[in-house]
């Protein structure tokens, strides 16, 4: 797999450089080999970091929020994993080795011997089989959040206590990413057989840290698992994840009450922390596998009309927004449905052909007005459901202003996250400002958001049915040749952006700030991977 670290930067800060932060933030890759890279890891210490939300469950199979991932990942292992520092290279985690049949229909994994669960029992192939059966065919009372990604698995067999075989119905170009997914944690078969919902309220895996306690609204504590199967790891004695609000987090970082936060800060927050910490701050930046998009409810007027949806997309000056909003928020790059900079992304020449991506905004807005007039919605006004936190608020202000310029009036209804999710599931919205993230750039992972609602009701909330899109999605999912697959991805984007069931606004920029004494952590374009803390040590 190709390396994709070109756009990542890491800086070890001095007070003087801190003041030049905005310029340095886009610094050279040479700095990525900066302070601490050659130091030898040291044992000991407790890492304290912030998480801005409470976990709604302890079960990684049944959720998609970082609030769970950033607390639970240190307690679990997966079959495969992304190689630290070399995303998207895949390496073994529980799997010591694996073979793939020439027809790509059989995957055989040999597990590490003597892998222990935190209760002292030994992990076997049966634990992997039962965990994956739970993922692809969840029992009553359990929901598998990413169930469609296991659709091509025909059977899972154990050949011996350390060998597990996955047989496929047909080729799945994304299956290795599925095996490396941080969400597909391996649970104890014994515990699952006794109670399929065991992981919802209990934490017991084979990961580098054992669970100690969770005090809701306060903290989550883990301690070193001395029988962890990777020799010498983890380096830390333990970790303490502290629950706090984003504003408290900035102050806590500046005051050294916490050492890190792994999701991301805004440029201004970064500058404030770096200014406060001076030489003790390090920052990492990367384009983020997370984008802001506007979903339309295609079942309701006026957005059942593609002309109205396209007009809204045409009115948004993404190029101007990108250049300027990136100075004051996490919103940054322009892209389609796949992450800009990834190997699947469209070139600028391809993007400017899409409605709303052309650089001539006067022409775009004239066309938008024409479409609205043609559709009979010259004085269009609608309500947009939005979240009441950044950068959603910034995106809302931007969108309202852009649509005002074609005479469209938008009411920005900012709500709490529960109401926001409720609007998505109930379909009680006209337009909804949304964001979407995945653990990898793999197109199947990403494009699922835009297929027909009846095929992916949890994520494809636009309530549109488009079998042409579904067909393109299925074809790319089976296509192993990356060149041909990329062509299919492009066709999918062309179709989606022409129909505009949902329209991407801008992609986010990930900015992570931590103290320089935190070493061994790997930056990536997603905040969902590299969070098991096994490689982290304190200087």
């Amino acid at each position: 797999m190709a390396l994709d670290t070109r756009n990542e930067t890491i800086h070890s800060m001095t007070r003087r450089t801190a003041l030049l932060m905005p310029a340095l933030a886009l610094g050279s890759h040479a700095l990525a080999q900066g302070a601490g890279a050659t130091d030898k890891p040291q044992r000991g210490g407790t890492l304290s970091y912030a998480v801005t939300a409470e976990p709604p469950t302890y079960d990684l199979h049944q959720t998609a929020t970082f609030a769970v991932m950033h607390r639970l990942s240190p307690h679990y292992s997966t079959l495969l994993a992304y190689e630290p520092g070399k995303y998207p290279n895949i390496i073994g985690d529980l799997a010591q080795s694996w073979t793939i049949s020439p027809d790509l229909l059989t995957y055989t994994f040999k597990l590490h011997p003597n892998v222990k669960f935190h209760d002292g029992t030994t992990l076997t192939a049966e634990d992997v089989r039962v965990s994956y059966e739970r993922l692809r065919n969840p029992p009553k009372g359990v929901s598998s959040f990413r169930q469609p990604s296991f659709a091509q698995i025909k059977s899972i067999e154990t050949q011996d206590s350390l060998t597990v075989v996955f047989r496929m119905v047909k080729v799945d170009a994304s299956i290795m990413d599925t095996f490396a997914s941080p969400w597909n944690s391996i649970f104890s078969a014994e515990k699952l057989k006794a109670d399929p919902t065991f992981p919802v309220k209990n934490v017991m895996g084979t990961g580098p840290f054992k669970f100690v306690e969770h005090v809701a609204g306060s903290h989550w504590v883990g301690e070193r698992f001395n029988d962890y199967f990777k020799a010498g790891k983890p380096y830390l004695d333990g970790f303490r994840a502290i629950t706090m609000t984003p504003s408290a987090m900035v102050n806590a970082m500046a005051g050294k009450q916490i050492m890190a936060e792994f999701r991301g800060f805004t440029p201004n927050e970064r500058d404030r922390i770096v200014k406060a910490l001076g030489a003790d701050a390090q920052t990492h930046e990367s384009p983020w596998m997370l984008h802001m998009l506007m979903n339309f409810n295609c079942e309701k007027k006026p957005f059942d009309d593609p002309r109205v949806r396209r007009a809204v997309s045409l009115a948004i000056d993404r190029w101007g927004g990108s250049a300027n909003l990136s100075k004051v928020s996490q919103l940054g790059s322009i892209g389609g449905l796949v992450r800009p900079g990834s190997k699947w992304a469209a070139s600028e020449a391809e993007m400017v052909q899409w409605p709303g991506y052309g650089r001539d905004m006067a022409a775009n807005r004239a066309e938008a007005k024409r479409l609205l007039k043609e559709a009979g919605y010259e004085n269009l006004s609608f309500t947009m459901i939005n979240r009441n936190q950044q950068p959603y608020i910034t995106a809302g202000v931007f969108i309202i202003d852009q649509l005002r310029q074609i005479g469209v009036k938008v009411e920005d209804k900012q709500v709490e996250i529960a109401a926001w999710y409720s609007a998505q599931t109930s379909g009680n919205f006209e337009a909804l400002l949304d964001s979407f993230t995945q653990f990898s750039d793999d197109p199947t992972n990403v494009l699922v958001k835009y297929i027909s609602t009846d095929r992916a009701p949890d994520v494809a909330i636009q309530r549109a049915i488009d079998r042409e899109l579904d067909s393109l999605f299925d074809r790319q999912a089976e296509m192993v040749d990356p060149v041909e697959r990329k062509k299919l991805v492009r066709q999918f984007e062309n179709r989606l952006l022409d129909q505009a069931y949902a329209i991407p606004i801008l992609w986010w920029q990930r900015i992570v700030v931590m103290e320089t004494r935190v070493q061994g952590w790997t930056m990536s374009p997603t905040h969902m991977i590299y969070q098991d803390l096994a490689d982290i040590w304190l200087k």
């Binding site: 504003s247 805004t266 201004n268 927050e269 404030r272 101007g320 250049a323 300027n324 100075k327 004051v328 009441n388 950044q390 608020i393 910034t394 809302g396 202000v397 931007f398 309202i400 202003d401 005002r404 009411e411 920005d412 209804k413 900012q414």
Partner: protein, 289 residues
Amino acid sequence: MAMLTRLLKNALLFCRLQPLGALGLLIIVVMASCAVLAEQVTFYNPEAVDFGAMLTGPSAEHPFGTDSFGRDIFTRIVYGARTALTIGFLSSMIGCHIGAAIGIASAYHGGWVDLVLQRFIDIILSFPIVVLALVVVAVMGKTMVLGIDLNLVFAIAIPIIPRSCRVIRAATLSIRTQPYVDAARAGGYSTVYILLRYIAPNVIAPFLVLLTAYIAQAILLEASLSFLGLGVTEPKPAWGLMLAGDSANFYNEAPWMILFPGLAISLSVFAFNLFGDSLRDWFDPKYRN
């Protein structure tokens, strides 16, 4: 004509006897004029984003500078006055009127009615004013009517009710024992008639003082709730909201983002408090003489 002359004479007398109150009134009049004539006072759109002018300092073009979206802060303060005065005035009116009605009824009836009503008022009074408003606005959500969040107005009005009730009840207690009230009762007038004809007009002085004082409180409360993200939301201009969000992140590079909205809040509260205090003195014969 005679009435106008008397009104003018009284106004001049008020200015001479209560110069600080007159200053407060002047500020309120200027603020209200700005709110009503916002489109004439400034030609910028308060919600229009101008990337070319992001975080620009005060200048002839933007006298109070611009925010992180390039929006003119002077314009947003002028339009913000509309938000502050509308919510402040409506909340204070609703809160003071309901409070006064309960206070008059409670004091006039006395006995178990007074006992029950006052214990209920005690319960509401035990909540700090901001906490009570926070709870109400969090529970009720938003109901927008003509661009005004009615739930926000009620959330601010509710904490005003018990405070207004207490003051008006105290005033009513002294009035209800007056001989002219006894005479009206002996004359066979109905309770409603007595309350409206003899009690209510005689508590108008403390009521007006309360009304002005609580407009200031309501403006402050609206700013606090907006600052906490529970009041007015972006992109609508509101002073408290202007102090929240990005302002905290830019206080070094763009101090005008917090300076001018902060001044607007302080000045308006100061003006209403000055005017309210002077009004109290004006209505009090002891001070007036």
